[in-house]
Symmetry: C2
Subunit: 347 residues, 2 copies
């Protein structure tokens, strides 16, 4: 076993504290990654605090992981020692179901194996990226081009692929009008991708203070969503709206903005069921959909696209002693736009 | 003006009573149809009783209309006197918006003009099919092949196209697993179409008494939806589920049955918003969609398909003196599977 250290929560109400544990010895297909940076995703907080139920403690959160390869198994072909590498939200799946065969491992019918707050196939508890090292099968490890700022790449492994995948699936691009709801960790990546793909992008935000930022990040228009008249001006006009808000909110307002065969895709994850009006759906044959990260091939495609188009996350780099503060600020949406932990600051 | 008589409601709580009114004189593109049969749609009752709000009285309901052409305008090309003809849920639209140009007039951005409980472009109140005659623009009038039982064709104009259109849009057919929720007026047509298109069809019903009927109508499997275990056996397996239930019910149960990129399409119209779990949607990248009747070209295509494959509705033919009884039985779902009024019984 490989000794590892990181920051863990021991129950739903305690703060993150230093924690020593072990990683498995690398098998022939495994890559050992020394973690340089780890992003803080809102879902880390939901799980640390058991807000979705079923949390496994102790828990080292973190699934936006970047670093450098320190060892590779004998059958690893895509990595060598010293390479940059990334790990995202999942680290394994059944590999045999139709979805896995289609490289949509995130939808594995047996359930994908999460990077943390889950167990590997042998029943061992898996720990995440707020730590110094991780061992992951090559299929779930991604190459990262040298031209990108490594710390700012970390959030691409969750916030990036979570927004890239539905934009590609529903064909955001030239000639399409695309909305982004919420300008946070997910939203600012959705905005960057939609803009990069050539769509006409409208950013919806509750906060007037974010208008200038949204335009800088690529929005063609910004609508303050509390202004019902401003929202209503866009009725029936969107091909796709990607909804990045994880708090309960009114979906029918956004459904009403979709044109014929338009889709409102949820990527934020409100914990409670949201009321949907059937009349909103039958008008214009609208769809309300959801999307969850992306498969391994698409995640690599996304990272390669980002390298080619010089896209990274906007981040606030923090030291480990600011974890508690960062969690509180994420809950208050007070971050532009993603916290990334510099793991070198761990004692 | 052309004198007409029919049955109307004068407010939300009164029964249908005989009513005399006038139809417009036919313009050059109009077809005058002597109504032989008129289906009773659950939405007739919702509107007669103002359950959706905004009802216009007096109201002659009915939008599943079949009969014979008695006169045609000078520019009419598809009909001559004596031809069978059908009229459905709409009788006009703006004709100029993108959706109308795409022959998706039901999604006209200006709002399609309904057959009744609405007004024509001159502001005149329009009246529906529980009457002896109707005057409709040729574009919204459909030809009906001679081989089909005319009374049993009436429900195709709403229940038929409402289920045919989403089955075509989401490509129900060979190699696809398709669910139908509810075995009523809409559901039994959804079942017939899905079976005819070659899909593997699973009928969901709350009523064990309908199992035999469902199999006779083409279901490969029938699941009693109160049996949670029987439902759960189909988890993650459907490409498409067409939900024909107009009462509030649990959508998340059916969402959980969809495979990767599957769609749950609502064609029933519960009056209240229904709670939808975001987790149900992001798993398998599912969509919850809605669909409303079909465009004029697709409605004609559906009628031609029915003629070719000898598909009609299962009906109970009634005389006008049984209207009140029929309404009560529709509300109780006590009809196999659509009431059709024989308008020749009107005094």
């Amino acid at each position: 076993m490989i000794p590892a250290k990181g920051y863990a929560v021991h129950d739903a109400t305690s703060p993150l504290v230093p924690y020593s544990f072990e990683r498995r010895d690398p098998g022939p297909k495994d890559v050992v990654v020394k973690i340089a940076y780890s992003g803080i995703c809102h879902s880390d907080i939901h799980q640390a605090r058991n807000e979705w139920g079923g949390s496994i403690y102790p828990m080292v959160p973190g699934h936006e992981i970047v670093g450098y390869v320190t060892a590779v198994g004998s059958e690893v072909t895509r990595f060598k020692v010293g390479d940059r590498a990334g790990v995202g939200v999942m680290v394994d799946s059944c590999r045999e179901c139709d979805n896995c065969k289609a490289m949509a491992e995130q939808y594995c019918t047996q359930g994908m194996v999460p990077t943390y707050n889950g167990r590997d196939k042998d029943g061992n508890i898996l720990q995440g990226g707020y730590s110094d090292t991780i061992v992951v099968d090559e299929r779930w490890t991604y190459t990262i081009a040298a031209n990108l700022d490594l710390a700012a790449v970390a959030p691409l492994l969750c916030a990036g692929i979570t927004t890239y995948s539905p934009m590609r699936h529903w064909k955001a691009g030239k000639g399409k009008k695309v909305g982004v709801v919420g300008l946070g960790g997910l939203g600012h990546m959705a905005l960057k991708f939609a803009h990069s793909f050539g769509a006409h992008v409208v950013q919806f935000t509750t906060s007037e203070s974010k208008i200038a930022d949204a335009k800088k990040l690529g929005a063609d228009e910004v609508v303050v969503s509390k202004d019902a008249d401003a929202v209503a001006k866009h009725a029936g006009s969107f091909d796709l709206i990607v909804d990045c808000v994880s708090a309960p909110h009114d979906l029918n307002q956004y459904l009403s903005l979709l044109r014929l065969d338009g889709t409102l895709c949820l990527v934020g994850l409100p914990e409670v069921p949201l009321p949907v009006s059937p009349f909103s759906l039958i008008t214009n044959r609208r769809s309300l959909a959801g999307s969850m990260i992306g498969g391994t091939a698409e995640t690599q495609e996304m990272l390669d696209y980002c390298a080619e188009h010089n896209i990274v996350s906007e981040i606030e780099l923090i030291s480990v002693d600011r974890l508690a503060e960062a969690y509180e600020r994420v809950v208050k949406s007070d971050v532009k736009y993603r916290f990334v932990i510099d793991m070198a600051t761990m004692a």
